[in-house]
Amino acid sequence: MAIGLEHFLILSAILFSIGLYGALAKRNAVVILMSIEIMLNAVNIAMVAFWHYSAPMLMTGQIFVIFIMVVAAAEAAVGLALIIAIYRSRDTVDAEKFNLMKW
């Protein structure tokens, strides 16, 4: 069986759904951050697949994906830093307890 575009897209959809579930359902802020990373990578897979099957001559798709990975790494760094800062002041990483601004 030849591996086609739809297989990549299904993989991407499965990863995205896993990430979405994690981001919506988990309480631990670190897990939520990880889930968001999974969703980003799911999108990356879809993007590389589209590049490969539609315009493999141009490098733009690949470069775009690498840029997204760079930005995702930076975002993960900032996100972890925020979580650590919150943990230091609140002694928890439970997202439901981050409710100081709520009335």
């Binding site: 979405l20 981001a23 919506l24 359902a25 939520i32 997202a95 439901e96 409710n99 709520k102």
Partner: protein, 637 residues
């Protein structure tokens, strides 16, 4: 004659108003004598021009001068023309207004001397005279209404001239508000006639009314609306209560505005619109009944007043009622076909306006006499006067002539004009005729009660002592003597024929039995007053006790002031309508505004529960939303 001459008649007093209020008063002095001179010069010139106009009208064919019409303003398709009417009616009114006004202004030079508001007084008087002249010249209801309100404003300003006195300020407001009630009907009638006919022009409206182009019900309502304006202005029942209170103003103001001219504007209006009234039997009957009733009603209150100016005020209301009765009586005859139309229209105007003409002179003279008495004694209360005939012979003489004229004694002015009204009332409305005859008796009685109490007997006042009593200066006596001459002779002028009425011969009038009946009644009134107040054959005190209920009824003015103020104003307006409106404002209008705000807050209180602050919940909502959108795309496309 160039039309500018006619325009100048009413523009000159306006010019005088502008000069006094914008040049003399701010730049020279608030009590500069020049203000009086400017006013007199302006009104004197108006009088000369009015005489010129009168001679032109007399020689003109049909007693009408044609005047150009000017376009005043255009709103969309509606163009409003203004112009002046110069016919016998307006020519007579011009003479009345300018001559009485001039004499009153001269008198005021003496009466108002040293008043801190001297310039202001003459500015208002000029403004009033200009507005009044504009009113009688207007050929258009809208234009007429403008000046109608103008004279009302001047009346307000001059009644409240001594505004630091609370009674004067109150009386001014009362006059303004009560006449406004009538003016509301007048304005409604003007607009109603406009929607029916598309014109404000008085001449056109008269033609349309006579041609039957306006439906009879519409015509009746329009005429009654116009008449309600006249009722307010001319202080007819039931809107008469403002005029006695208006006596708080300076006495020359009462003489000019509240006796001779402005209050007669209502009669003039009915005369000017007479074809409209005469085309509706109901409307003209209303005029006759209101006039006849007011005549006797006001006279009854005049019987018991102790303030000389209030007696004169009730007398004025009563005489204005006579004028309305005169117009109404002829109009009823015209409407029922007893008098042919083309003759009757002019006759009605002649009967009403002839009395207006003679009344203007003797009534303003009576007021000026009252002012002269006040000048000497410092009071208007006739109980504190007496014996003034020795100290003030000129005032006494002129006052006596005016009283005789008002009582309708042959051959003074009042006799001729009153006879015309009585004769026509006899022919068309007998019930009102009998009321009018009783009024003749009452008129003679109340006037001579004032004469005997003021000028007869011994001085009863304490305020200044008899050595302080003195005759007024020449500047006041002069106009009074001229008015006295006019009070005698005004009936000898052929005013009635000039206006299209019937002529009367000097001695021929005495051949009429009606003349003797009214002379006997007037003489009886004078004799009764003589018996009670001069000879004291009958004690006034015991009479008062004998007729105590009637006396109380008259002295309390039929409790109409109380009825209006306590019942209409307080109970119905303040406690009723205003309270209901207040409730409506508080609960419905404010309630709507507050309800919207409160509802928003309440909804917000519920909806804010959805705002958990949990990003995950939002994310879930977004996810479900996207799924829903995708589902929709699949289902509907």
């Amino acid at each position: 004659m160039p039309p500018e001459v006619v325009l100048a008649i009413f523009l000159l007093p306006f010019l005088s108003f502008v000069i006094i209020s914008f040049i003399i008063r701010p730049l020279l002095s608030h009590r500069s004598q020049i203000s009086g001179y400017v006013t007199i010069a302006a009104i004197g010139t108006s009088l000369l021009l009015s005489v010129l106009v009168l001679t032109e009208v007399i020689s003109a064919e049909g007693h009408v001068l044609s005047m150009p019409d000017y376009e005043w303003l255009a709103i969309g398709d509606i163009t409003i023309h203004i112009g002046v009417t110069v016919d016998s009616l307006s020519a007579v009114m011009l003479i009345v207004v300018t001559s009485v006004s001039l004499l009153v202004q001269i008198y005021s030079q003496g009466y108002m001397r040293g008043d801190p508001g001297y310039s202001r007084y003459f500015a208002f008087m000029s403004l009033f005279t200009g507005s009044m002249l504009g009113l009688v010249l207007a050929d258009n209801l809208l234009f007429l209404f403008l000046f109608w309100e103008g004279v009302g404003l001047c009346s307000y300003l001059l009644i409240g001239f001594w505004f630091h006195k609370p009674e004067a300020a109150r009386a001014a407001m009362k006059a303004f508000l009560v006449t406004r009630l009538g003016d509301f009907g007048f304005l409604a009638a003007i607009l109603f006639l406009y929607t029916k006919t598309g014109t404000f022009d008085i001449g056109e409206l008269q033609h349309l009314a006579l041609a039957g182009a306006i439906g009879s019900t519409a015509l009746t309502w329009a005429a009654i609306g116009i008449f309600s304006g006249a009722v307010g202005k001319s202080a007819q029942f039931p809107l008469h209560t403002w005029l006695p209170d208006a006596m708080e103003g300076p006495t020359p103001v009462s003489a000019l505005i509240h006796a001779a001219t402005m209050v007669a504007a209502g009669v003039y209006l009915v005369a000017r619109m007479f074809p409209v009234f005469a085309s509706s039997s109901e409307a003209i009957t209303t005029v006759a009944i209101i006039g006849g009733f007011t005549a006797i009603f006001a006279a009854s209150m005049g019987l018991v007043m102790n303030d000389i100016k209030r007696v004169l005020a009730y007398s004025t209301i009563s005489q204005l009622g006579y004028m309305m009765l005169g117009l109404g009586a002829v109009g009823v005859a015209v409407a029922s076909g007893a008098i042919p139309l083309e003759h009757g229209l002019a006759l009605g105007v002649a009967v009403g306006i002839f009395h207006l003409f003679s009344h203007a002179f003797f009534k303003s003279l009576l007021f000026l006499g009252a002012g002269s008495v006040n000048h000497a004694t410092g009071t208007f209360d006739i109980r504190e006067m007496g014996g003034l005939r020795k100290a003030m012979p000129w005032t006494f003489g002129t006052f006596l002539i005016a009283s005789l004229s008002l009582a309708g004694i042959w051959p003074l002015a009042g006799f001729w004009s009153k006879e015309g009204i009585l004769a026509h009332a006899w022919e068309s409305t007998p019930i009102l005729f009998y009321l009018a005859m009783i009024t003749v008796f009452m008129t003679a009685f109340y006037m001579f009660r004032v004469v005997f109490l003021t000028f007869g007997g011994e001085y009863r006042g304490q305020s200044q002592g008899s050595h302080g009593l003195h005759e007024s200066p020449l500047v006041m006596i002069g106009p009074m003597v001229l008015l006295a001459i006019l009070s005698v002779a005004a009936g000898w002028f052929p005013i009635s024929e000039f206006l299209g009425g019937e002529s009367h011969s000097f001695f021929g009038a005495l051949a009429h039995p009606l003349a003797w009946a009214s002379l006997v009644l007037a003489g009886g009134g004078i004799l009764l007053a003589y018996a009670i107040y001069s000879r004291k054959w009958l004690s006034a005190e015991s009479l008062r006790r004998a007729f105590a209920p009637l006396y109380t009824l008259f002295a309390r003015k039929y409790w109409l002031d109380e009825l209006y103020e306590r019942v209409f104003v307080v109970r119905i307006l303040i406690d009723g309508i205003f309270a209901a409106l207040h409730w409506f404002d508080d609960h419905i209008v404010d309630g709507a505004v507050n309800g919207i705000a409160g509802g928003t807050v309440a909804v917000g209180r519920v909806v804010r529960k959805a705002e958990t602050g949990q990003l995950q919940a939002y994310g879930l909502a977004i996810f479900i939303g996207i799924l829903a959108i995708i589902a929709c795309l699949f289902i509907f496309s």
